[in-house]
């Protein structure tokens, strides 16, 4: 086994920013807005680095698909302990329509090229909330998947994953190579220390184009319109249950 783990990291608008829709309703405002690594991707990186520190795997490779600025996100992963990075350059219109299908094709191609033993991703991105990339990647590679992981442990060539599901927790054992997606309680990501950021400057980030991987980026989706959620209307207080039923009938809800 190569002992190599691929970790996908996505550059998203920072969770604390107040999102605003562009005046032409074509999307949200991203210019000049603070961006950072998707929180679930941070958890994924942390898990990979932990596995390396436990000597269960040998190398952590951070991957990001996007424009020039994605390199900042890769560097954050390097500062957290990843060994090297791969920046898949996607910009302009292609970047606007980049979604889970395209990314999973890219990750699948890279996994084969890098002979990865594990792919760890965040369960979803906080900008599109798709929750699809991990699953699609596994399907394209025909690899087992352990999604919504809240606990991961290696057992030889197998991985034991405790998954958070609607009913509670489910424990599964899957063969490697496999795809895992990190959920909130998997771990607490470490703070990148300044000396590590400095050391990260020396780590390599390779540049790759999707075409080099034989990936077609055409999107099957077209965004028609983006709107802000409707303003929350004021509520009404009623005195009795009868009043409530009457109001519900009046507004046509019952």
């Amino acid at each position: 086994m190569s002992g190599r783990v691929l970790v996908g990291v996505k550059r998203v608008i920072d969770y604390a920013v107040k999102i605003r829709v562009k005046p032409d309703n074509s999307g949200v405002v991203t210019d000049g807005v603070k961006h950072s690594m998707n929180p679930f991707c941070e958890i994924a990186v942390e898990e990979a680095v932990k596995l390396k520190e436990k000597k269960l795997i040998k190398e952590v490779v951070a991957v990001s698909c996007g424009p020039q600025q994605s390199q900042e996100t890769i560097r954050t992963a390097l500062a957290m302990g990843a060994d090297r990075g791969i920046h898949v350059e996607v910009s302009g219109k292609d970047y606007e329509t980049l979604g889970p299908l395209q990314v999973s094709k890219i990750l699948a191609a890279l996994a084969k090229k890098e002979d990865a033993q594990l792919i760890i991703l965040g369960k979803q991105a906080i900008d599109d909330d798709c929750n699809q990339t991990g699953q699609m990647t596994a399907a394209l590679l025909d690899w087992p998947q352990g999604t919504f992981a809240s606990e991961v442990s290696m057992d030889g060539a197998q991985v034991k994953v405790v998954r958070e599901i609607d009913g509670g927790l489910e424990t599964i054992k899957i063969n490697t190579p496999a795809v895992l997606t990190a959920d909130l309680r998997l771990n607490t990501p470490r703070y990148a220390t300044l000396p590590n950021i400095m050391k990260a400057k020396k780590k390599k980030i390779a540049n790759v184009k999707p075409a080099d991987l034989g990936v077609d980026l055409t999107s099957r989706l077209e965004v028609l319109r983006v709107d802000e959620p409707p303003q929350r209307q004021a509520g009404m207080k009623v005195e009795t249950v009868e009043d409530l039923v009457e109001k519900l009938r009046d507004t046509g809800m019952v």
Partner: protein, 660 residues
Amino acid sequence: MLLRKVSQTSSLSVCGSILRNPAVLSGAPRPAAIVLAVPGGRLYASQAAQAVLDKPAAVGSDVASKVEKKAVAAESKSFAVNMFKGQIATTQVFPFPKALNDEQEQFLQELVGPVSKFFEEVNDPAKNDALEKVEDHTMEGLKEMGAFGLQVPADLGGLGLSNTQYARLVEIVGSHDLGVGITLGAHQSIGFKGILLFGNKAQKEKYLPKLATGEHIAAFCLTEPASGSDAASIKTTAVLSPCGKFYTMNGSKIWISNGGLAEIFTVFAKTPTKDPKTGEMKDKITAFIVERSFGGVSHGPPETKMGIKASNTAEVYFEDVRVPADCVLGEVGGGFKVAMNILNNGRFGMAAALAGTMKGVMSKAIDHAANRTQFGNKIHTYGAIQEKVARMTMLQYVTESMAYMISGNMDSGATDFQIEAAISKIFASEAAWTVTDESIQVMGGMGFMKGSGVERVMRDLRIFRIFEGTNDILRLFVALNGFQNAGNHLKSLQKALKNPIGNAGLLAGELTKRAKRKAGLSTGLTLQGSIHPELAQSGDLTVKAIEQFGAVIEELLVKHGKKIIDEQFVLKRVADCAIDLYAMVVVLSRASRSLSQGQASAQHEKMLCDTWCMEAHDRVMRDVQLLRSTQSKRLFNNMRSISAAVVENGGVVAPHPLGF
């Protein structure tokens, strides 16, 4: 006018002799004892004056050699220095310095995130304040983060940040927790800065690595019970052993930040030294690196303070401490210069931190003003609140601009920034106090409550006007330094007068300049070409103010001669003008840059700049007028008398209105 004054040779020769000292001009080493002793005069002002004459050196290890060069630069590039001569030197102020190359900028951007995150999520300022110490896990986190060695070179275990990069990070610390800010600042901005600036290779390699990781904490030990502002009067002694291998140190220092935590101390002590020329023994200050492990070093309990409670402040005692001779920092007898250089070098950090502090409290006040409804409207719609918010914004803008202009100048290799650094410290500490005070006011009762976190900042801020050179002393420093440079300029004119024909051109120019100034006409000074055309009006106000300022400086020099040193009422107002003028120029520079770059905020910044310049111009003109008027003398004399009477009485003199 100039020719007439020539005939009264006494005045010019007096002003020429104000600060005349052959040793100073020839750059020869001078004794530490003050040179400016006015016959029968006091030495209290001498510190400021001495600091003035000891030209601080640039950051670098060849400082010792630079320190001995001419104390008065022939052509200083400093804006402040030239402003006192009524001239405008644009090199250091226009355009606004771009101090970071692409790589440094990118690196810095990567650092900002983690540092901010740490202070938002891990550091608990309220807890630190209540415990009166920085929580243990926070200290550990800061050490791991690398926060203790920001400017230590990377090959010695630090981050090797430039001044501008350092400023950006301390801005974050300042906006969250000044107690932690002082703990870090006392350690690296002054505690071991001496080793960075004056240490030899061996000293750097021995001490810096452990200081960078925070394994060892550092402290700066200058102040003693009887020596605060009067730093040259310290009594701690270090006597060289007969074998010459070590010094024995005795003395006690008070109010030492990190005194209870530090392992490495930069200590200033009096060493008996032989004057090379006269052969007599004189006590001069020497700087030492003292390790707690030398034995004999102890400290007192932590002081209970009004603010920055999380920072440890303690007395430090030295009892027969054996300090190896190779622990001398810089030159034997050159300690005063070392101290002043260290303080001068770290001053920009304070302005940067406080710019961050102001942003922090302002966001709370603004949030309150935007959401609080009274009398049917949000309170930010009322003029009273609008004025407060606008003034806060301008003060913060000026402070931030000063901080990054100075750090930019320092990074570009400027060596002449001591006046500007002092100005920035005075301005930043007073602006932050005002901004926080007004923020509490905007927030009303909520501002007064502990929970809002603003009252803590207010308490933390009070010390900033006191330590690292009280604002009062620094004002004297700014004024006296300016007078010295102006005086030397006049001295050179006096020389020119001795050969009027050979210097006809120069003299004619000076004559015309003064005539124009007297007539209220422009002397040809202009900022056109340096500033964006949209700021022309503010530029004009600034130029007018500089012209009048230059004139009044000359008049004061002629009027008072070397006795100007004692005229503290005058010096304070001169300093206030200098501060306002530097502030005007700094915002002109920054706003110009924004306009030239077509920034989205450019018009807003133009408004900040214009508004600031309008008010600053009026303040300067008013002070200049006061300084010229005969009324000022009466005013100052009255104050002198009032003070004397009250001090003699040990309290107010006027009896109670009720008679008892």
